[in-house]
Symmetry: C2
Subunit: 407 residues, 2 copies
DNA sequence: ACGATTAGTTTATTGCCTGAACTATATGCG
DNA sequence: CGCATATAGTTCAGGCAATAAACTAATCGT
């Protein structure tokens, strides 16, 4: 049995299908084609018809719905050879979505159009570890309102949003289960208050999961199956299987940072023992490299580490070597369990790639021989903004999956 | 984003939906309800209608199709209080599917009806390690023909089949990538020749995956998310997520036996290092327990081990303790990556449960604290026949998913 | 100017589900 | 016995969505 194709025409499993589902499915199909077109290329109704297999008549009718919903816009005429010129179709540039991020030492909010172009973004430095979650959310709501107003001045309407936090989340319940680096446990978020009066609401994401979605959208190779591992203080992970985020039964799969890579290892902040994070997280690497964390921001510490590596300091080199080796152990196990043989490195793993790559590849070859070609280990295509872009993009994705929600 | 519900009305992603898809979806829905009913309970059209949400008119029409396809049968009348008595519906008892299994030292074939009751089964002892795959498949084809004839004498028609093999498979290509214990590498199977002239063909499965499907069907608690781990010479695994087998992008996810649990460990038959199999597989346990494998079948060796455990022999106890401990390491990592907190033990893990359970639970608590309640570690409900039942049952499942294939 | 060519719309048809009316078959009570 | 009541299942008109084919619209080439 193969993974099911993503549900196209069904409202839910176990519920009767009716012709309305067909309409929804085909609306999604048409909107998806229009959204997929490269920037600057505007498909015509006829092109959409031949690309989807729908008839011209059906596409005309479906496009009419999308125009009325304000999701799609007609743009100029264009002539291809003989015949009547075609009317271009594009995602409506005045419809947008918001991405938000709460991290340890900043909050951030940004608006992208439906094609994923960042229109506005603001980041606010802020120590989010003290004072609990209430002031953080209040500050973020303010920042979001500001960014939204800026977008609104440009005539852009925000349809919905996504929020990324560095911790375990229950998206259905809008609840942060644990975010060790924020010191949050079982925090219920009022997502509605964060971005009031948007038709599509606000979705909650784990940071690495959101970043994985951003990678999915922006990867030049168009890979549809990979593990994204993000090295921060913690080690986060996001699993993309069949161009979908895999979140598991409870919504928080992908904790690559807590794979056990050394059963005799030290205690982890998660309560476990010998997790990858205890050997390849930032604190572990900096400590092993002999770089004191005190009186420095984390960015500065990583910069110091890179200098040490460039200087060829043995302690730094062996610290990174160890991190790469154990990262390989965890990814080898992931490859075996999930059958994914492609990796995208983010956070400090991307920064340290020049020194990390060889030990990582060696480790992969030792623990999962023949499963990872070197070109299957890539670096993040979106970098720092990944979580925000991914959270925003996921709203677009859910909109494309169910365009009827805006009618 | 949550796992998509299984596609109900869509043929495939990226293809236009039409009204025929609605029909297919609803056929599946109706057949599914009829199949779900407990043994001996026969739903009426009216009950199916209220259970599914379809109208009586639609259900009547859909049931007619299923009757004509021979998938469903009307059975007697039954009176519930007042009113016209209802006509019972059941899966047609004369339609059946075949499950087949190739293992190291036997081949087996059996026929079950669509409700999963085993009608005939034959097992043939056979050394499948020598001589390559051709004679094995010839022998299995013979055995299948025999079993099919026996079922045919009872008036039962075989609609399709499933074959389980102990190795990595590519189901789409009908290819066994590697089956170390059989000595097979990149073997293409002619599944059509194995069971000629069946309308639904033959599907190929990894043995543990098939067994996981059988567990899914027969679990008393009706769990829909679990890891099945089967202890044999190798350690196999099957992942069930949302009542679906998770096979990963390439079709061979779930290799729990090759999670790295000891990076400094010994070489594994898969080419890796420190795999779970090298510490919790049968050979590893028997060797650590000091039980010589020579001049015994594997069953006898395990029996000897159980005697030693009952006698309280320290070497045997510590061997099993170690196996349980490392099994816990692997399952803790699986829980983190897949977000699955429920386990079903099969093979020797089930047999050794009295001695294995405590170290396993301790290990789970150490490496993934709070994720596994003791009652979430269960034993196989189907035992030895699991792979065969699962392979057969998967054909029923795919038939319920797409009943129109028989019309 | 006019045919060729391509884009998009209109119209008739088909398939499928729905709701309401209808038929069928039982029970229970006077 | 007869009739009200209740439940199962069928028939039929209506609506929606996709399709195919005919039709209108707009442009190019000669």
């Amino acid at each position: 049995m193969v993974m099911p194709a993503s549900a196209v025409a069904a409202p839910e499993s176990g519920v009767p299908g009716s012709m309305g589902d067909v309409r929804r499915s085909n609306l999604s199909l048409v909107l998806g084609r229009i959204a997929e077109a490269p920037a600057g290329v505007h498909l015509s109704r006829a092109q959409v018809a031949s690309a989807t297999g729908l008839t011209k008549a059906s596409v005309s009718s479906l496009v009419l719905d999308l125009l009325e919903a304000g999701l799609v816009r007609e743009v100029g005429l264009s002539q291809q050879g003989r015949g009547r010129p075609s009317v271009g179709l594009e995602l409506h540039p005045a419809r947008s979505v918001m991405g938000m991020e709460i991290n340890v030492d900043y909050i951030s909010a940004g608006v992208t159009d439906l094609a994923g172009n960042l229109l506005v973004r603001e980041t606010q430095e802020r120590d989010n570890r003290s004072g609990g979650h209430v002031p953080v959310l209040a500050a973020l709501a303010g920042l979001a309102a500001k960014v939204r107003a800026a977008a609104g001045d440009g005539g852009v309407q925000v349809l919905g949003g996504g929020l990324a936090v560095p911790g375990l989340v229950d998206p259905a319940a809008a609840r942060v289960l644990t975010a060790p680096n924020l010191g949050w446990t079982n925090v219920d978020l009022d997502l509605g208050a964060l971005l009031p009066d948007v038709p599509l609401g606000v979705e909650l994401f784990n940071e690495a999961n959101a970043a994985a979605l951003a990678e999915l959208r922006h990867r030049p190779d168009g890979a549809s199956d990979f593990v994204f591992v993000s090295g921060e203080v913690g080690v986060g992970g996001g699993l993309v299987v069949g161009s979908e985020l895999f979140t598991g039964p409870g919504g928080h799969a992908g904790e690559v940072g807590h794979i056990v890579v050394d059963p005799e290892g030290v205690r982890c902040s998660c309560g476990g023992t010998g997790c990858l994070e205890t050997l390849s997280g930032q604190d572990a690497i900096l400590a092993a490299a002999g770089i004191a964390a005190e009186s420095r921001t984390r960015t500065e510490s990583i910069e110091a580490l890179v200098r040490a590596l460039n200087d060829g300091q043995p302690r730094a080199l062996s610290a990174v070597e160890r991190a790469g080796r154990y990262l390989g152990v965890a990814l080898a196990s992931t490859a075996r369990v999930m059958n994914i043989g492609s990796v995208v490195l983010g956070g400090h793993f991307a920064v340290l790639d020049p020194w990390l790559r060889v030990p990582l590849l060696n480790s992969l070859e030792r623990y999962a021989p023949g499963r990872f070609a070197p070109e299957q280990v890539g670096l993040s295509a979106v970098g720092q903004a990944g979580a925000l872009l991914g959270a925003a993009g996921s709203v677009v994705r859910s909109l494309v999956d169910a365009p009827h929600r805006l009618q």
